[in-house]
C-alpha cells in the first residue's frame, strides 16, 4: 500500500548521520524509520511541555511504587498496633502517622497505589475497547445500526456517572472487582461518541474507498483502517478520564461500596479518617493528597498527550 519504502534512499554524503538527523530525516528509508521518526517528533513536542513531563513522572512514580510496594513499605498495610500506636502524629517512626487501627498510613498509601492502578488499568482495558468498537461500527455502518447503538449510548449518558455506578455496586455487592465493573460500564459511552465522530470523518475518504474497491470486508476496514486512526484521540481521552476514574473509585470507597476493609483503598481511608479530621487531620489528609497528586498527574499527562498526538496541530 505504502510506497515510501520503494523510494531511492537519498545519497548519504558522508555516510554518517547522527541518530537525531536519522530520526528527523524527511526522506525515511524504511517504514520503521518513518514510524520512529514520527514517534520522536511526538515525544519532542510532548517533552517541550514541562507540565506534561511532571505528569508523566508522577504516573511513572506511581507505577514504580505499586511494583515495589513490598520493598518500599516500612510496615504491614493491614496489621496495626491498636493498643500502642493508634492515631500517632507524623513522626520519624511513622512518616505519615498512623490511623485509627494503629496502622502505618505511609505503608497503606504505598499498597493502596496497587489498588488505584488496578482500578484504572482494568477500567481502561474494559471500557476503551467497548467504546471503540461501538463507536467505529456505529460510525461506519450508519443507518439503523448507528441509530440503535447511539440510543443505547444515550441511555447510559443520561445517568450521572456516580449515581449509575452506585446503583450497579448496590446490585452487585460491594468489592473492588464490582466497583471496577460498575465504573467500566458507566465510562464507555464517551469513547463511543468520540470514535463514531472520527469514523464519520474518514469513512468516505479516498483511501477507504480504495480499500473497499480492493475487496476488503467491512470488518477488515473497521479493524485495520479505521480503528488505528481513532486510537490517538481515544488514548488522550482515556488518560484524561483516568483522574475521573480514580475519583469515582475513591468516591465508591468513601461510601463503603468500593474496596472491603482492610484493603488500603484511598477513598475508604479518607472515609475512616474523616471522623478525626479536626484533631488528627493527617489520617484523612494523606490519602487525600495522594488522590490529588495522582489525579493531577493523569490530567497533566493527558493534556500533554493531546498536544503531542493531535495530528491537526502536528504541522506535518
Amino acid at each position: 500500500m505504502s510506497v515510501m519504502g520503494n523510494t531511492t534512499p537519498p545519497p548519504m554524503a558522508e555516510g554518517k548521520l547522527s541518530r537525531r538527523e536519522w530520526l528527523l530525516s524527511d526522506r525515511p528509508a524504511s517504514r520503521t524509520q518513518a514510524k520512529l521518526g514520527r514517534a520522536y517528533v511526538s515525544w519532542r513536542r510532548f517533552a517541550e511541555n514541562r507540565l506534561a513531563l511532571i505528569g508523566l513522572i508522577i504516573i511513572l512514580a506511581l507505577v514504580l511504587v505499586a511494583i515495589f510496594a513490598d520493598l518500599l513499605a516500612p510496615y504491614s498495610p493491614t496489621i496495626g498496633d491498636l493498643a500502642n500506636a493508634r492515631l500517632l502524629a507524623p513522626a520519624w517512626d511513622h512518616w505519615l502517622g498512623t490511623d485509627d487501627q494503629g496502622r502505618d498510613i505511609l505503608s497503606r498509601l504505598i499498597y493502596g497505589s496497587r489498588l488505584t492502578l488496578y482500578v484504572v488499568v482494568l477500567v481502561a482495558v474494559i471500557a476503551a475497547p467497548i467504546g471503540l468498537l461501538v463507536g467505529t461500527v456505529s460510525g461506519y455502518a450508519g443507518g439503523w445500526v448507528d441509530a440503535v447503538l447511539m440510543r443505547i449510548t444515550d441511555i447510559f449518558l443520561a445517568f450521572p456517572k456516580l449515581v449509575l455506578a452506585l446503583a450497579l455496586v448496590a446490585a452487585l455487592g460491594p468489592g473492588i472487582e464490582n466497583a471496577v465493573i460498575a465504573i467500566a460500564i458507566t465510562s464507555w459511552p464517551p469513547y463511543a461518541r468520540i470514535a463514531r465522530a472520527e469514523t464519520m470523518q474518514v469513512r468516505n475518504s479516498d483511501y477507504i474507498s480504495a480499500v473497499r474497491l480492493m475487496g476488503a470486508s467491512p470488518i477488515r476496514i473497521v479493524l485495520r483502517h479505521i480503528m488505528p486512526l481513532c486510537m490517538s484521540s481515544l488514548i488522550v481521552r482515556v488518560t484524561l478520564d483516568m483522574a475521573g476514574i480514580i475519583l469515582t473509585a475513591a468516591g465508591l470507597g468513601f461510601l463503603g461500596l468500593g474496596a472491603q476493609p482492610p484493603l488500603p483503598e484511598w477513598g475508604a481511608m479518607i472515609a475512616s479518617g474523616r471522623r478525626f479530621i479536626l484533631d488528627q487531620w493527617w489520617v484523612a489528609a494523606a490519602p487525600g493528597v495522594a488522590i490529588l497528586l495522582v489525579s493531577l498527574g493523569f490530567n497533566l499527562l493527558g493534556d500533554g498527550l493531546r498536544d503531542a498526538l493531535d495530528p491537526r496541530s502536528a504541522g506535518q
Binding site: L82, L257, Q260, P261, P262, R275
Partner: protein
Amino acid sequence: MMMSKINTHARLLFAGAALTALVAGTAPTLADTPADTLVLAWAIDDTITLDPAESFELSPAEFIGNGYDMLVRLDINDTTKVVGGVAESWSVSDDGLTYTFKLKPDLKFASGNPLTAEDVAFSMERAVKLDKSPAFILTQFGLNGDNVTEKAKAVDDNTFVLTVDKSYAPSFVLNCLTATVGAVVDKKLLMEHAEAVTPSDDNKYDTDFGYAWLKTNYAGSGPFKIRDWRANEILVMERNDNYYGEKPALARVIYRHVKESATQRLMLETGDIDVARNLDPGDLEAVSKNPDLSTTDAAKGTVYYISLNQKNENLAKPEVREAFKYLVDYDAIGSTLIKGIGEIRQTYQAKGVLGALEASPYKLDVAKAKELLEKAGLKDGLTVTFDVRNTQPVTGIAEAFQQTAGQAGIKVEIIPGDGKQTLTKYRARNHDLYIGQWGMDYWDPNSNAEAFTSNPDNADDASTKTLAWRNAWDIPELTEQTKAALLERDDQKRAETYKTLQQEALDSSPFVMLFQQIEVAGLRNNVKNYKLGPSFDTNFVGPVTKD
C-alpha cells in the same frame, strides 16, 4: 441637608459599632442560662409521641420518666430492686397470681385531679387495649383487651389488684411495671379529650382513650410536667407543684434539639446550655480538659456482641466458638475504639440488673486460640464472612477483630452494608459472623436471658426468633432454665439461675460479648447533682440544682 444628616447618623452608627466591638473584645459576655432553668442539648428527633402507651424510644423515655409516675420504680441506689412509685406497699398472694398494691394517700395529678386506683387500672387497660409497641411488656402476664378490666382492677380508691396468668417471679412482674408503659395517666383529663371512633380491626373500641391528644400533651403526676413539645426543636418541662414527693429545685427544664456533637460542645463552652448529651469521644475529651466543664457517665442497658452462625459447620464446633472468644483484643478495644462510649463486658446481662454476672475470663490469647482450632481439626485455619454495618464503632471493632483473628489463621472477609442490609441477612440466618447491639426491652434479666439463652424452636419457620435462634444455637436445656427462672419466686435463687445461664453462655455460646454502652454528658460546673441513671427513664432531673 438630608445628606449630612444621614452622614451623621452613619458616623454615629459606626462609632457605636466600634465601641461595641471594643467592649465585646475586652469582656466577652456569656449567654448564661437562667438560674432556675436547666437547659440540655440532646438529639431528640427520636421522640415521635409523648404517650406512655406507645413511646418506646430513648429520649421520650426520659421525658416520661420525669413527667409521670409508675406503680413502682427502680431503686436508683440498687437497681436489682424496686421502690414504691405511687404504690406505698404491695403484697403477692401465696399462689403468686394476685398482686395487691396500696396507693400512697392523697395523690394528685398535675392537673389537680385526684390520683386513685381507678387511674392505675385505666392506665393498664388503656395500654393493653391500644396495643402499641411496648404493650407486650404488660400482655406477657396474660392480659388482653378482653380480660384487662377484670385482671387489672381497682378494688377501692386506694387499692389496685393485678392478676397474672402464671406464678411468675415477683421481681419479674415488678421490674416490668417500672417500664414507661406502666406510667399512670390521668383518666378524667384523658377521657375529656378522648375522641369517639368507629371500631375497626386496629381498634376494637369506640373511643381512642385520648390517644390522639396525648401524642403531644401530658396527663401525668411526676415531679415535672411536660408543658410544650415541638418535634425536632424543643421540649419544655415545668415543676409540678402537685407532686407528692420532694419537689425539684428547678422551675424549668428545657431540652433543645441539637444533633451535632461539635455544636453541643461549642454551646456548652459558651454557656448557652448547661448539659450536652451527645458528645463524641473527641469532643468529650476536649470537654473533660476544660476547667469550667465536667463530665458524667452511666452504663446503659445495651450490649454489643459478635455472633457465630451455628449453621456454618466450622463455627458450630465448640472449640471454634471458644477460640473466637480468645481472639478479641478486649483491652486495646476498650482503651481506644470504645473509650468514652462503652466498657468491656463479657457477660450478656447489663451491669446493675438482677443476677448480672461479673466475669471477664477472656483476653487476647492467639496461642490458646490456635490450640483450640487445632483440636477442632482446623489446623490450617478457616475463612468466614463477617457482616458489618458501616457505622462506628462496629466497623472499627470488626477491623480490629479481623487483624487478631488473622494471627490465628482465620481469614475474616468483611462485608460492609447499611443497617437494613446486614440486619435482614442476620434475621434470615444467612450470615457467618455478625456484629450487633442488643438493647434491653425492660429492666429485668429475663429480657436479655430470653434473647441470648432461649430458643424454643430452632426450625427456620419458628415463631419465636430470639438472638439464639438467629444464630441457630439449639439449646433446649437452657431454654427450659430460662423459662424456669421466670417462675422462680425466690429472688436469690432467681438471680443464681441467671448467673448460671450467663456462665453457660460465657463458656459455650456462639456470642462473643464485647462491651456495654455507656452514656456520657458534659456539664457546666455550676450544675450540681446531675446524674445519669441505668436506663433512660431513670435519667432524673428532679434532684438537679444550680449555683
